[in-house]
């Protein structure tokens, strides 16, 4: 036994535990010894500052510039897509401001789990946490698939091989599982570098598209499709959500943020404003340089003398291929390589979000407890990382038979996100009225109007899912039933009272009592 190497556990864990307890608005002497030990065993480190929050916010979302949004152009046109995009930009700008208020008040890795738990009861906490988990997990799947597609495009721009695309996606899943297992600070450094690279890629695209830009393509006649009118805008909204979905991942970083009352609001606002500029310019140059329908679909021979429409998974790369392949193949390949930064930066952040949400749900007992364990030395949630990566890999392999996987994953992710945005605003109103002291560190401007705007914009966005012809609503309902079924039949009697989200809820009175 004496010859076995001793594991070195970080000596600042007591300080971390004290900070988590303070953020839960719990006095240290109210903590039982076994609860303190539980927190110490499940503590995350706290190195993130404003620039890290900005990089996390921009980096996790920037993949939306490189794929997904273009599917909204199909049969809807560029102007409808622009209006839908600006509606989504407004939703997310108001959303991140309101989210900052909740996130600073309850800075836990559980995020929505904590908000719902404290505002109402464990059931709402579970539904909100599960919503964000679905949002993150399906966004991760979509991005892994798109990364594989971009890599396959690099190897054969004329006709990317779908099997190679799946293999590349699986390699991405494995690589980033290993990278995330290293620890938060290392991830943050990589994220900042990747984010700058991704932004550089977009700037390169804008410059390359400029010589081919035409205002007639951006503003066609009629401005909205003759057969659809304003319905084209409604149909484009679910895909426009992909520009900006997942920025709320930053809320999960609050437990790992230094001075969250300062770093979270400032980082989020600057990230959102950066993204809005990127959205508008990417839309402008992509739609101005290439026909919008060609950005959305590729016509391929079906072997029977006709053609079949194939959704485009790599619109910017396709545009570069159309514009520059003959004049400068090196530029096309160079852009493709840089575009991978965008995919990878977002994939990085999405794995972070998915694993942290699964970790928080596991730590609190809402999902299997093993998901809530951390590595003894690295303090990273290695088992939740593993499970999320395996789920992603399984869906990636399924893409070999199910070709619309990316579109479905995008829509399930955005629909799940909208559900918890609405519930989060409900929690905000409840907690503001019942526990105003929670919000003494930070309050959002436009105190009443802004959260109401978030709710109405989200309701509007959910409504339009009934307008588009994709069967994601039943699939999403099934996923919710699976989660709620597990929680109802098993987990809700086995909640972990020492988890930060449960400690925080203990302060809010009778509703906070854990069901026996």
């Amino acid at each position: 036994m004496d010859d076995e190497p001793r594991l070195t556990i970080p000596s600042n864990l007591d300080a971390v535990v004290n900070e988590v307890v303070a953020e839960a608005h719990v006095r240290p002497h109210e903590l039982r010894p076994e609860e303190r030990a539980y927190l110490k065993e499940h503590a995350l480190k706290k190195p993130l500052r404003v620039l890290d929050i900005w990089a996390l916010g921009v980096g996790v979302v920037i993949t939306g510039e490189y794929f997904g949004w273009n599917l909204g152009l199909k049969d809807n046109g560029p102007v409808a897509m622009l209006i839908a995009s600006l509606i989504v930009c407004l939703l997310y700008l108001t959303w991140v401001l309101a989210l900052a208020e909740l996130s600073v008040a309850m800075p836990f890795a559980g995020g929505p789990l904590a908000y719902g738990r404290r505002a109402v009861n464990p059931w709402l906490g579970f539904v909100m946490g599960w919503s964000m988990f679905l949002e993150c997990q399906f966004a991760t799947i979509a991005t892994a698939l798109a990364t594989g597609s971009y890599i396959a495009f690099l190897f054969n721009p004329e006709d990317p091989n779908p099997t190679f695309s799946v293999v590349a996606a699986l390699a991405t899943v494995l690589l980033f599982f290993l990278l995330h297992a290293l620890g938060v600070k290392e991830q943050s450094t990589v994220m900042v570098i990747m984010t700058y690279g991704a932004i550089l890629g977009l700037v390169l695209f804008w410059i390359a598209a400029l010589p081919y830009f035409s205002w007639e393509r951006v503003w066609p006649q009629p401005v909205l499709p003759a057969r659809k009118g304003w319905q084209a805008v409604l149909e484009a909204v679910p895909y426009a959500l992909w520009w900006l979905v997942m920025i709320e991942t930053v809320a999960l970083a609050a437990e790992e943020a230094h001075e969250p009352q300062r770093s979270i609001p400032r980082g989020l606002v600057w990230a959102q404003l950066t993204l809005i500029v990127l959205v508008v310019l990417t839309w402008l140059f992509a739609c101005g340089a290439v026909d919008s329908q060609e950005l959305a679909v590729t016509l391929r021979p079906d072997g029977h003398g006709g053609t079949t429409e194939e959704l485009v998974d790599y619109p910017l790369a396709k545009a570069m291929q159309m514009l520059w392949a003959k004049r400068s193949p090196a530029l096309v390949y160079g852009f493709g390589l840089i575009a991978l930064f965008g995919m990878i930066a977002s994939y990085h952040g999405m794995v972070y979000g998915t694993s942290r949400q699964a970790f928080a749900l596991g730590r609190a007992g809402y999902l299997p407890a093993f998901l809530g364990r951390v590595h003894v030395v690295r303090r990273t949630p290695i088992l939740s990382l593993l499970v999320c990566s395996l789920l992603t890999a399984a869906f990636v392999v399924a893409n070999l038979w199910f070709k619309d996987a990316i579109a479905v994953a995008v829509l399930v992710s955005t629909l799940s996100a909208l559900v918890w945005y609405i519930l989060a605003m409900g929690c905000l109103f409840i907690l503001r009225r019942r526990e105003p002291h929670l919000f003494h560190a930070y309050r959002v401007p436009l105190h009443r109007v802004l959260p109401i705007a978030v709710v109405l914009l989200s309701v509007f966005s959910i409504y339009v899912y009934s307008v588009i012809n994709v069967q994601v609503i039943p699939l999403t309902v099934v996923l919710y039933l699976l989660g709620i079924g597990y929680f109802g039949f098993w987990a809700h009697r086995r909640l972990q009272t020492a988890a930060p989200e449960e400690l925080a809820a203990r302060q809010s009175g009778p509703l906070s009592e854990t069901p026996s």
Partner: protein, 77 residues
């Protein structure tokens, strides 16, 4: 933890204006759903004017909310 600083009159006026524009945008979304069921209006001469008005409202809302958010964040530093 920082306390919220008192708001200037100018900032309050800006907030009121932003709130008004946000309400107008929300009303336009309701109108959009209603008129979305009337696709035969798509080639109507007023469609381009409608598009410009909606775009103008959205841009105004984005600019105003951004300004308010930045001023608010700076005042908290």
């Amino acid at each position: 933890m920082s306390e919220q600083p008192s708001r200037s009159v100018g900032f309050l006026v800006l907030e009121r204006l932003t709130g008004t524009v946000l309400v107008l945008v929300l009303l336009s979304l309701g109108w959009m759903i209603g008129v979305g069921y009337l696709p035969e209006q798509a080639s109507h001469p007023s469609t381009e004017v409608e598009v410009l008005i909606v775009l103008g409202l959205l841009v105004a809302a984005l600019v105003l909310v951004s300004v308010v958010a930045l001023l608010h964040t700076r005042s908290d530093s």
